[in-house]
């Protein structure tokens, strides 16, 4: 379980972006987490809630978008979304597929608040 160390990297990014934009605090964070990324959204949330106290994201709300597994098939050119672990093309059944989404762990967007005008 390495969710806490991933959240530590999220906070590095939050600090950097807050500074870069001259903002005072972070009010919202959106993460995109692939279903096959190996991390658990619930644990990321607990880690975020623990970590945020006393930081510039103290009042921030976290949203986690779970990204389904999306495959591209070089044989038929189609794309398919799989909910199970049978990673074959739903259109032609080919197993020579490429996973294009579903393994990422990404800070998608953040909301910053700036004091003053």
């Amino acid at each position: 379980m390495h969710e806490l160390s991933l959240i530590a990297s999220v906070f590095d990014i939050l600090e950097e972006k807050t500074r870069e934009h001259g903002a005072s605090r972070v009010t919202a964070v959106v993460l995109r987490v692939g279903r096959m990324s190996g991390v658990v959204p619930d644990l990321l949330e607990s880690a975020f809630e623990t970590y945020k106290n006393g930081t510039l994201a103290e009042g921030a709300r976290l949203t986690i978008e779970v990204v389904p597994v999306k495959l591209r098939c070089p044989d038929c050119g189609g794309t398919s979304v799989r909910e199970d672990t049978d990673f074959s093309c739903t259109a032609c059944g080919s197993r020579r597929i490429e996973i294009v989404e579903g393994r990422e762990i990404v800070v998608e967007k953040i909301e910053l608040e700036t004091d003053g005008a």
């Binding site: 379980m1 672990t85 990673f87």
Partner: protein, 223 residues
């Protein structure tokens, strides 16, 4: 007071991926083939490495980086085989990261053929971290059960080879190697499957041959 939304799109594993890419470049330039071994604790990673050390001894030079939460035990076992080994103790962390490998890399002798990295025993977290390896092996031992690939898909999805270990115990267990292999292949088509008993030696020759061919491919630039 004003509020604005910033699109960040920052990959949280980007730093690890960059360091891993540097390690891969460095090892390839030295002509070293790097293998990352993943499995749950007790699947036989260290025993497999000991058996490889015995078989490769006269033909091939190898080194091992051992990852564990605590103790030097695994590195000591490997050193007893006459193979240089470094122990990384993570002190609780559930996986190795590329940065940890990078710190040890300077000590690894240039004149070796294979660098094996034995990851922390854990079938979940190590799957997300590229260590700069050329090949990733996932081990599944017969006592663990043939239903594990679908339960822990990330590890199998990220692997190049599935090594079914402790095959000498299969007669005593409700373990169907064909089911384990089929399940893993539905997750990762193209996965190479090996069946070995490191203690009895069954299947070891095929694995050694595969490794030697992979090394030749790497050195001739066809990796």
């Amino acid at each position: 007071m004003s509020t604005k939304t910033i699109r960040v799109q920052a990959d949280l594993l980007a730093t690890n991926k960059q360091v891993a890419a540097e390690i891969r470049r460095e090892l390839r330039s030295r002509g070293i083939l790097c293998v990352n071994l993943l499995s749950s604790p007790g699947s036989g990673k260290t025993t497999l490495l000991e058996a490889l050390a015995d078989r490769l001894k006269d033909r091939i030079r190898m080194a091992v980086i051992e990852g564990d939460i605590e103790t030097e035990r695994d590195a000591e076992r490997i050193r007893r085989k006459g193979v240089p080994a470094w122990q990384i103790t993570t002190g609780g962390a559930c996986h190795l990261e590329a940065r940890m490998i990078g710190k040890v890399l300077g000590d690894v002798p240039a004149a070796i053929d294979f660098l094996f990295i034995e990851n922390v025993g854990n079938l979940v977290c190590p799957a997300s971290y590229d260590l700069g390896e050329d090949l990733r092996f996932v081990l599944l031992s017969s006592p663990e059960g043939d239903d594990k690939p679908a339960k822990y898909p990330q590890a199998f999805l990220s692997a190049d080879c599935l090594i079914l270990t402790k095959t000498d115990l299969i007669p005593y267990l409700p373990f169907d190697p064909a089911r384990a292999a089929a399940e893993a292949l539905s997750i990762k088509p193209g996965l190479r499957v090996f069946m070995v008993s490191a203690l009895c030696g069954d299947g070891m020759d095929a694995l050694v041959e595969y490794l030697v061919e992979a090394l030749e491919r790497l050195r001739s630039g066809r990796a």
